[in-house]
Point group: C2
Chain length 303, copies 2
């Protein structure tokens, strides 16, 4: 088991970022992740305007994975997301979120976590921990991607299916992949309506392995029952187009049919789901049930 | 039990449309619904360019419900959607759907239905029948709404949770509500990626009742476990804003908290889901779990 402490962070997924740890293909690595505010917000009286904005959205890493080369996928098995704190942070900021024009008061709410649930407004809401920021170094052409932004390299995808038991496949663009993660949420709904989840530092355990010679435009997520193509773009419509396009292309290859026939199939069985609407780019996932095509079949279609 | 035959159709939800049947508050009504092509497409060789485009998206009705007045909700309990045909129709048209630019061939695929499943590309896909077009007469200000378009009156919402066992609450804008429905899909994924579901005529059984003095901007859907605010707008972002705004307003009243505190709650527990991205307006639903607030509580917040 190898460890990366939470003090080793980047604020940008850059093509040339410097690894803080090198691991072998198949190694298990534990990351100390920070919350999106780098733990600068601890009470309802803290004011977001007064914290250090140079320290927002830290991602722990990066880790160099031996054998990972451009044209491969980095396979990330999410083995555990341990929330070891007894509170999480949320906030509303005027001009942010899905209903930005109705915000009258900037507020912070620090929410207690008791026995696996958040206690808020008299409700007990069970935790469902997820990873908000997770990615690899982008291509030289895509250039440095700030950690607050999602794109082809992963990044701030804020997709709540990126949780314990899921496997994320990230397109490797640089030697060693250069993997980093952070910004865990103890709870978040599809959309992340107000612009924060329940923000927590966490200890994240993953297995990192290399899938050779498999080229994807976008991150691919495998859950128990589904395979998701996660795409990000300036609008939800563009993100939908990109995620559905890759799903249809893969289905046409798997089923050996016309592209248009696969497009019809997608209309019947693929769910287009919103991940988040509050980051610099919008994130959407096209969800293919494993009863239609397995993740292995979809990955083989990318070889 | 009362019946409306499928020959009684409208192509526009108009403020002044003429009822073909009058029923009492609480009556059960069976509708003969037509598919979106009015059954003009029956084989893979049919060409959409050559069918009568004046007969697309017919909605059966309208029905006048005694006692329904502007400022009420029409409660529609969906008791059955019986698909009595042995095939459904799908189509791809260049320039339509979520990936419109990649379509090279306009195709029709008529798909057999055998023992409760569609048989397509070697797959068996279980039917999950839903109602695509369902609504009431709009306000005078909103004017006639073509049946291919979703808006505040309902219409072409293409939301697959509008199925047997769900209850839809539609904002009454005209005396008697003037209710109509059509465009059932035997199967459809969130998004309706290619622009058709598995289009079928169906026999739809609903109970129509009046919820007095309850004003909603948008249709509200109740399923076994969730309450959904369904909003439609030119972009998915605007539809998200409208559906989340109404959900947050209701949650603030139910939980007697600040609007901003409810906005935070929505970010944690409300899922924003895409219904469809292929009609003249985009449709999104904000989904509130009943464990957070019951449908009754949300409706009471609108009184």
């Amino acid at each position: 088991m190898k460890f990366v402490e939470g003090k080793h962070v980047v604020y940008s997924f850059a093509p040339d970022m410097q690894a803080v740890l090198t691991v072998d293909d198949g190694d298990i690595v534990v990351f100390g992740s920070n919350d999106c505010f780098f733990q600068q917000v601890q009470s309802n009286n803290d004011v977001l305007d007064r914290i250090d904005h140079e320290r927002l959205n830290p991602a722990t890493g990066p880790v160099f994975v031996k054998g990972a080369k451009p044209g491969d996928l980095l396979k990330v098995d999410i083995m555990a997301i341990d929330v070891l704190v007894d509170q999480g942070v949320t906030a509303v900021v005027a001009g942010e979120g899905s209903v930005k024009d109705e915000v009258e008061h900037n507020i912070v709410r620090v929410i207690p976590i008791v026995d696996g649930a958040a206690e808020y407004l008299g409700l007990r809401i069970p935790l469902k921990p997820m990873i908000g920021v997770i990615g690899v170094a982008p291509s030289d052409a895509d250039g440095p991607c700030p950690t607050n932004t999602p794109y082809k390299h992963g990044g701030n995808m804020d997709t709540h299916d990126i949780r314990k038991g899921s496997t994320l496949y990230l397109p490797v663009r640089q030697e060693g992949a250069l993997f980093a993660l952070g910004d865990c949420h103890a709870i978040m709904g599809d959309g992340e309506a107000c612009f924060t989840g329940l923000e927590v530092p966490a200890q994240v355990t993953v297995r990192l392995s290399v899938v050779k010679d498999t080229v994807s435009n976008w991150p691919i997520l495998e859950t128990e029952t589904e395979t998701m193509i996660i795409a990000s773009a300036p609008t939800l419509e563009e993100a939908t187009q990109k995620s559905v396009s890759q799903a249809v292309g893969a289905l046409a290859k798997v089923l050996n049919c016309m592209w248009e026939e696969a497009y019809i199939l997608a209309s019947l069985v693929v769910d287009v789901r919103i991940s988040q609407v509050v980051d610099p780019l919008m994130t959407v996932r096209a969800v293919v049930p494993k009863t239609i095509a397995t993740t292995e079949q979809i990955l083989n279609a990318l070889k």
